[in-house]
Symmetry: none
Subunit: 196 residues, 4 copies
């Protein structure tokens, strides 16, 4: 791993754990094993580094989510696949994922975050979910709901469970699976109902 990448990874760790303001450039440099001068050399300012770190993480996740929802399946299955991929990604990146809690429109502005850019980046997460809901309504796997509202609620639901898992001491083994069940129960067009 070259030093530029090392700095990026270290920044994701440090900003994720401490937040933009509390994390220090010196800390990032220390974790990356480089001098702090090199951080400015490659990334300019702390703010630019913060955005680079957050966007790099977001981009990686977006790739996974696209892959998870692109195959042939019902809308409801796509949502389940989306959630599975999302949760898997968080578990595989426990140390560095939380940068997304900070560098996201769902957190209060950290100084130095361009709100518009971040909202733009994150709207993709919502949009993919919205497409899945729309698809599910069409193919009959999801009941009639507002795709827009639902996508927002589902995303909040997902992030809520991720926060609980990564941040709180309120641990629960099956929370990810149960969240998928929760969502499935809420959205599924229960076949029994039609049959009655």
């Amino acid at each position: 791993m070259d030093k530029k990448t090392a700095i990026l990874k270290a920044a994701q760790e440090a900003f994720g754990q401490r937040g933009f303001t509390a994390a220090t450039v010196k800390d990032v440099a220390g974790r990356a094993g480089v001098s702090f001068g090199l951080v400015s050399h490659y990334f300019g300012s702390k703010q630019e580094l913060f955005l680079a770190a957050g966007f790099d993480m977001a981009d990686s996740l977006i790739v996974e989510l696209h892959a998870a929802t692109e195959g042939e399946m019902t809308g409801l299955e796509a949502i389940q696949s989306y959630m599975t991929a999302y949760f898997k990604f968080t578990e595989e990146n426990r140390e560095r994922f939380p940068i997304l809690f900070r560098c996201s429109p769902f957190s209060h502005n950290e100084p130095g975050v361009d709100v518009a850019k971040v909202a733009d980046k994150f709207s993709v997460f919502i949009e993919v979910l919205e497409r899945c809901v729309e698809k599910g309504i069409k193919d009959g796997s999801i009941r009639a709901v507002s795709p827009e509202d639902t996508a927002l609620i589902l995303y909040g639901n997902i992030v809520g469970s991720v926060r609980t898992t990564l941040l709180t001491p309120f641990k629960s083994r099956g929370i990810f699976e149960e969240t998928i069940n929760h969502v499935t129960r809420s959205l599924a067009n229960s076949p029994g109902q039609d049959g009655c």
Copy 2:
């Protein structure tokens, strides 16, 4: 409003908007219209002020939630009442509510927050919810789910919608009502299923 209260309210605003590290004591004093010396005079250190501000907000909310869930009703109705009260409280305290996003175990530790104390305080929110789920299972209004997992998921769901509303530009008029519907659909013991 006496100056001590003014400082507390100002602290909730400032810490909510900027976070523990980025908010300054001078800023708090400015918003409260008092000299910065008075802040230490009443609250000692910045950290103590942060905790006082967060706990004051949490306590107010807890009072509301207890009131909302204590009457005679089914478990499912209690959950709906809990959520309604929670959402109402956030809207009535838009400016100062976000202190809870910072001073909560669902956010990364802000330096100076005693994790244990905070977890303790917030476990009440989960426990009240858990009691409602248990009650609903008993009275037949809620299907058979794990009360513990479900309480965590529901809380994440609620906070997700609050964050979306208070923090993001992804606005949706009916998100609070839809979140209640979402939860209701997921938990309700659908009478039709039994009938089949």
Copy 3:
């Protein structure tokens, strides 16, 4: 002398000797015998301190020059009095005067100097001189010259001698008197000429 004044005097010394960029706030604080935090407390930024220091010195000098040129005398005598006062002031403030070399439109912009403000302040020095020249032309003590050009040249002349005295190793005991003679010879309406 209170600490705010001490900082101002120290700033005049430090900026005068080393220039805006090379002088450090720590150095200023050290000379003033205060902590460097107090400098920001009173003056905000280095730039504001620089301007405050320069303008304080300029204002003091302006007072002297007005006093020197206000009595009843010919224009030529007023110019001599102006120069005498100017040179006396520089000698009495050897240590701190050079701030004016830096904070003046006759020096290259130091970053953080508002060019317009400085030009405004210094235009007074030129204008007073111009009035004297005009007066001298009217009262016959000064030959027919362009008051505007002449004022600029005289000011350059004065500052040139001050720079030589305060900054260079090219010392000459009588340079101030000789400069006054030089100017007098150049401007005087030699009575002999009229008589011819």
Copy 4:
């Protein structure tokens, strides 16, 4: 123009405009269109570059002044020729001339300037002027004055006008000519006086 020369010219520009401390090696390299590594490669340190830049400019000017004063003429004419050449040189090198304001004993020490070397270099400018005054006194074109003091005063006079022209917003079309007239009036052995 080879890269070494390009660096030297760029250094004259940058140091002239910003001063030794504020100008950066990177800035010089950027203006010259070379990598910053090449600057050290050719000139060693920033200080050496500064001196090289200043002395190169001083040497060019000295050549012009010698040429201007070497022909057959009276001392007064030599001084006029000196001034004309000096002013012409400044106008032809507007962008890069101000390095001499910085790298001269008439400016406060920029750190890294060897005072003695600079004084030595600049003493030539004064000496040439002094020779002209002495010559003029001998040949009767200049009245009886102290050559030493006068040379210093004249040099200050010249530089004052150059500073006014290159640095201040106090522009005056005829300032260079008027300065020559000013000096001429002051020094000339007015023939009319003798004639009376």
